[in-house]
């Protein structure tokens, strides 16, 4: 299998072979995934929520970093495609015995794996694995370090498209800890590729990457200004370790300036939607009345996440 050295996600026909990052993926492939996911939403609403596409295939969930929600939605997606799913929480198995990541992967490949879903605390780990697996094995990045979380970015795009239909006239705000967020990076790349004309990032200086404006986004430090007239508000999770760390005075302080409350949300358009990748810190980045309010699409995001992962897996396994 020849993979494009400049973009090792694509095969020689320009088709998706691995999903490692949304950066550098052509719009055509993003639209293909979003369109396919739409058809899978129908499948998940039926009596029998399964299709036979991946029958006989083995999908290995390799989670080098704990995650319940992402692992579960990948597992549900693979099972709805009729694949066999093997879940491995690696931090509690061979890694503690000193086995390297590539040795783990080589051993699992020898068990006839067809696909690896990889979550790792180190940026680039899924790329490393993708470079070393046999040519007929597909790798999906389920979140690596601060780098990328492509299926989360895709399910966010699916959710926005579901409610707003079209990206070409949207004003979107991404709020919170942009610096440490692989989700934010994936969102910015996807929104840009899909033609969103105005992306704003909102957060304290200490939680914004330097030169973030080079990604083509507008930077705001004052949330009330940043939310003015936006169509979509994408909240990010504030990681626990940041709440105690040197970058922020306190969680309460963060809530005061950057927590999404009803009165701040009122500055956005009246029909603006609110997204959050979960799990939420209620009372830190988002108020409960907003999280459970009429503009929240946080639970539909979870449902759409299954359809997106079904779409990605079935497109990869077919290429």
């Amino acid at each position: 299998m020849w993979l494009d050295p400049a973009n090792p996600q694509l095969n020689k026909n320009g088709e998706l072979h691995h999903l490692l990052s949304l950066e550098g993926l052509p719009a055509e492939i993003l639209w293909q995934i979003l369109d396919t996911a739409k058809s899978f939403v129908g499948v998940t609403q039926r009596e029998v929520k399964k299709v036979p596409l991946l029958r006989g295939k083995a999908v290995f969930n390799l989670f080098f970093e704990p995650s319940t929600r992402t692992r579960t939605t990948f597992e549900i997606a693979a099972k709805r495609l009729s694949a066999d799913v093997i879940n491995l929480a690696i931090n509690v198995s061979s890694q503690t015995k000193g086995e390297s990541v590539l040795d783990t992967v080589a051993n699992l490949s020898a068990m006839q794996a067809d696909m690896f879903v990889v979550r790792h605390a180190a940026s680039g780990a899924p790329h490393l694995i993708a470079r070393h697996v046999a040519p007929d094995i597909h790798v999906i990045n389920a979140g690596d370090g601060r780098h990328s979380h492509p299926t989360q970015g895709l399910l966010d795009m699916f959710t926005i498209r579901h409610y707003k239909k079209d990206f070409s006239s949207l004003r979107v705000a991404i709020v919170g800890d942009i610096l440490h967020s692989r989700v934010a990076r994936s969102q910015i790349h996807a929104l840009t590729t899909l033609g969103c004309p105005e992306i704003r990032v909102i957060g304290p200086k200490t939680l914004l990457p330097s030169h973030v404006e080079n990604l083509g986004v507008h930077v705001h430090h004052e949330m009330r200004k940043g939310l003015k007239d936006v169509d979509v508000v994408m909240m990010l999770r504030l990681q626990n370790e940041r709440m105690q760390g040197p970058l922020l005075p306190s969680a309460q302080e963060f809530y005061k300036y950057y927590g999404l409350t009803e009165d701040k949300l009122a500055l956005a358009k009246p029909d603006a939607i609110v997204l959050h990748p979960g799990p939420m810190n209620r009372g830190v980045e988002i108020d409960s009345s907003v999280a459970d309010g009429r503009q929240s699409v946080i639970l539909p995001q979870v449902t759409f996440g299954i359809a997106i992962r079904m779409a990605v897996m079935s497109i990869l396994a077919g290429n």
Binding site: Q32, S39, G42, R46, V48, P52, G318
Partner: protein
């Protein structure tokens, strides 16, 4: 000019409608297979004055050539807005050929429930069956050279017509 001209799709559809009229009841479920089958089913549904809403199927998730050619690029959404369990169904497709699309469609339908029966309506049958599938209602049988395919087209006024495509070049 190549072979005999293709029959007129509008006339075939009329013949198909007449065949089906005495065979459908108030509870019959009509299901078109994307894309040509859906166009036909929309017309049949209207002209037969059926009360049960029209169903549509995209069989991409059930095709037996997924391993070979991967997932179809332009998957449409299947939508069966009625109870399949215990219902008499009629599947509608434009061109009946190997029978593999019909096999995939039947597999998908059974994931919605156990129908009382499934019959098949096709606009044209070009032979070449690879599975034991036959149309109960048929517009016409046609002969087409191997390597060529027949396609149903719909113009901006909704008029249906048949066209040949494929390898053979006309000098």
């Amino acid at each position: 000019m190549p072979g005999t001209p293709l029959p007129d799709a509008e006339q075939l559809l009329k013949a198909l409608t007449d065949q089906m009229r005495p065979e459908v009841g108030p509870e019959t479920g009509l299901i078109g297979i994307h894309t040509g089958g859906v166009w036909l089913a929309e017309r049949l549904h209207r002209d037969l004055n059926l009360k049960v809403p029209l169903g549509t199927l995209d069989v991409s998730f059930y095709r037996d050539d997924y391993e070979k050619i991967g997932l179809h690029r332009d998957v449409k959404t299947s939508d069966i807005p009625f109870e399949v369990e215990g219902r008499h169904l009629i599947l509608v497709d434009d061109v009946l050929y190997t029978g593999r699309t019909i096999r995939a469609a039947m597999n998908e339908l059974f994931d919605y429930g156990r129908p009382a029966s499934i019959r098949l309506a096709a606009l044209v049958d070009r032979g070449g069956r690879e599975l034991p599938v036959a149309a109960r209602f048929l517009g016409a049988a046609v002969t087409v050279a191997p390597g060529r395919s027949i396609e149903l087209k719909r113009d901006s006024d909704g008029r249906l017509s048949l066209a040949l495509s494929g390898d053979e070049h006309v000098a």
